[in-house]
């Protein structure tokens, strides 16, 4: 276990599995762990995909009305409708990954590794596993299985509880 300097703790419910939405839970979780908090992350619904061994995260302009990409000194907005054009998601994903690299932002793989290293407790939602027909072997080592009660048990003892 990492050294603890205070007894604070945090839990995060991770419900989304796209490239952009994968960042907040992993950034906050790893940072809290680095600051000595006990962290529990509960991966449910689309968030469960973030525990898959092989990640191929995508981003979509669809339903993402506020999405803007910096381009040639300005910002390019992505009209909602663009999301239905074939190849646009792929292009937006490539653009985002290039930006991430250029700006020195960690990759999700890197942050997830940091999460494992810092002993963040990672709970995979059993119901979601069944629902989407994932196999436990598809998920990274170090996770445990649990359900709503497992999460609530952890949340009642946590100082901070986030739903992302």
């Amino acid at each position: 276990m990492p050294e603890k300097t205070n007894a604070k703790s945090m839990s995060i419910i991770v419900t989304k599995g796209s490239l952009d939405w994968a960042y907040p839970p992993f950034i906050l979780g790893t940072t809290a762990a680095a600051m000595g908090l006990d962290v529990t992350m509960f991966f449910t619904f689309y968030g469960l995909g973030l525990l898959k061994k092989k990640l191929d995260l995508q981003i979509t302009p669809l339903g993402n009305a506020a999405m803007e990409m910096p381009m040639m000194g300005g910002h390019m907005t992505m009209p909602n409708l663009m999301g239905v054009v074939p190849g646009v998601d792929r292009a937006a994903t490539v653009m985002m990954k290039n930006l991430i690299k250029k700006k020195g932002v960690a990759s999700i793989e890197e942050l997830r590794e940091a999460a494992v290293e810092s002993d963040i407790r990672m709970i995979a939602c059993q119901m979601t596993l069944d629902l989407f027909e994932y196999k436990r072997e598809d998920l990274i080592e170090g996770h445990e299985l649990g359900g709503a009660a497992t999460y609530i048990d952890s949340a009642t003892k946590s100082d901070i509880n986030l739903f992302i």
């Binding site: 205070n6 790893t30 680095a34 600051m35 000595g36 020195g104 960690a106």
Partner: protein, 75 residues
């Protein structure tokens, strides 16, 4: 002179903090770690990091566009 120096230049949030935390493990209690960063957000973040973890932020300055933090490993 710090006991150890961490070059976190070019890295963005939260990597300077994560790497600093890792580097502090190799600094004996009472020893110091110097972190160099180009992330403007790290100025507020290292203050907060030290406040929460109990490590002491001895110095926070800017040198030629690089933010330099001197942290004493106290906990």
């Amino acid at each position: 002179m710090a006991d150890q120096v961490l070059d976190a230049k070019g890295l963005n949030c939260p990597l300077p903090i994560l790497k600093a935390k890792k580097a502090l493990k190799d600094v004996p209690a009472g020893g110091t770690l110097e972190v160099q960063s180009t992330d403007p957000g790290s100025v507020a973040d290292f203050e907060a990091f030290c406040r929460t973890t109990g490590n002491e932020l001895l110095e926070s300055k800017t040198e030629d566009g690089v933010y330099v933090f001197l942290i004493k490993h106290t906990s």
